[in-house]
Amino acid sequence: MAEADERTVGETATKPGFLGLSDVSISEDIPVEGEITVPMASHSQDEDYSTLDEPVKETIIRDLKAVGKKFVHVMYPKKSNALLRDWDLWGPLVLCVSLALMLQGGSADSKEDGGPQFAEVFVIIWFGAVVITLNSKLLGGTISFFQSLCVLGYCVLPLTVAMLVCRLVLLAGMGPINFLIRLIVVIAMFVWSTLASTAFLADSQPPNRKALAVYPIFLFYFVISWMILTFTPH
């Protein structure tokens, strides 16, 4: 022991004492012992079985609550991690299907100059979201693929609300005031969507490329807003 001390003293004299840590020692007064048993092991096993055994209603309500919580986060975008941490794609699917159902245009006879069909809207939304996600990942973003899809899909919610409002307003007939109301609503919801998705996604980009990643999102919601604004019922 004493020889070891002498050696350490000698070494600290020749070496610059790397950060002064070479003479740190652990005193024997502090006990390093404890128990390595998980106290709640038996309970967690019971929980696994209980989620399998729970009634279906509970599972569905739990998932619906998660989706609803994310809707609330989109409508009041704060910088929270709820959308990113527990991503799911149920919400985007529901929104996309409802938007495509509401947007599909047109009478069957004039196929060439009708509005977008269900498949076209569906493909634009999903393919557009995939392309934007790939773009942000290629630019060096740190967000994962499905998290980005989740955020982009959930932020279609304001535009779906705008579509509902437009359809209701169009029930009152066409006209310039009608168009002006629809224009204002769609522009407001478009700005809301873009700001919401930017609030969630912009932080994951390198700081000198934020604009490069945000511009495709802007273009994506612009195209969807254009489809909503130009919708005419037959």
């Binding site: 070496k15 020692s25 005193s27 100059d113 009708g114 773009n135 290629l138 490069l212 511009y215 273009l219």
Partner: protein
């Protein structure tokens, strides 16, 4: 007392040895590699138009680390390695042709990106569809029996035309230049991605042109079209002139004329297909959209794509 010697890692001992030897040094282990990079960069900067040697140097630079496989993500990530200000600068340089600045040499500097071409083409396709829709509305909204229809198929047509132009024409040009280089007439050739990049950025000027074509004054529309074609055509000419300068006069003249002609043809085709003004006679509106789909300029559209 536990001996600190047993607690120190061997790596730290090596670093501590280095520190003891050179007390003023910073703790960067690989001091030679950055200098090697710097000397190579200086060499490539000094050369003027030695395309072949520059290609060798870039291969050397790329060959220092293993080039990533085509199927890995990092291979494609290297084409998106641009910052916002770089993209904006490239767009600005594609708008203003400066005779002494070659777009590829001055702006790209062996760092072509795919972000600009891809998103400029997408924006242009959507801008064409939206503007053509708005133009139809602006022409006809005074007619009482006009029923608006979104004409969604124009997005598809615009997208296919733009992307075909922006990818097939550079492919053909690259193939032609490679053949001339092989025959021995040309000085060298840009890489395929650099040609795609030049063409993509040269399409940027059509975006404001297409939006301004909404103004229904015919003379203004033609003036804007000619301005756009001449500006971006000049950028293309200035970019490719150093390559074909040493070729035979006939071949270089034909090549440059064909390039500018295709560019102009794209503009004219878009103008005729998407912004055709309806005849002023009163036709039943339900039949008018069908007439719109087959304009007299459709033969030019098929020739353009």
């Amino acid at each position: 007392m536990a001996a600190p010697q047993e607690l120190t890692f061997h790596e730290f001992e090596a670093a501590a040895d280095l520190l003891a030897e050179t007390p003023g040094a910073t703790t960067i282990s690989s001091l030679e590699e950055p200098q090697g990079h710097v000397s190579l960069a200086v060499d490539t900067g000094d050369q003027e138009d030695g395309d072949l040697e520059e290609n060798d140097q870039t291969q050397l630079l790329g060959g220092e680390k293993q080039p990533p496989n085509f199927w890995t993500f990092s291979y494609h990530q290297s084409f998106f390695d641009v910052d916002t200000h770089q993209v904006l600068e490239r767009i600005k340089n594609s708008l203003l042709p400066v005779p002494s600045q070659n777009f590829v040499r001055h702006c790209l500097r062996h760092h072509p990106d795919l972000y600009g071409p891809f998103w400029i083409c997408a924006t242009l396709a959507f801008a064409l569809a939206v503007s053509s829709n708005l133009a139809t509305v602006l022409q006809n909204w005074k007619e009482a029996s006009f029923s608006y229809s979104p004409q969604f198929h124009k997005v598809t047509v615009a997208g296919i035309t733009i992307y075909c132009y922006a990818w097939l024409v550079p492919t053909a040009l690259w193939g032609f230049l490679q053949w001339r280089k092989g025959v021995g007439e040309c000085v060298g050739c840009y890489t395929f991605l650099e040609i795609v990049c030049v063409y993509g950025y040269s399409l940027f000027i059509y975006i404001p042109t297409v939006v301004l074509w909404l103004i229904p004054i015919s003379g203004l529309q033609w003036f804007l079209g000619v301005l756009a074609v001449s500006l971006s055509g000049a950028v293309l000419l200035l970019t490719f002139w150093p390559l074909v300068r040493s070729d035979t006069r006939v071949v270089s003249a034909v090549l440059l004329t064909v390039m500018v002609a295709l560019h102009a043809l794209l503009a004219i085709g878009c103008k005729f297909y998407f912004f055709q003004s309806l005849p002023s006679r009163s036709i039943p509106v339900t039949q008018a959209p069908l007439h719109q789909v087959t304009p007299p300029g459709s033969s030019k559209t098929s020739a353009a794509s």
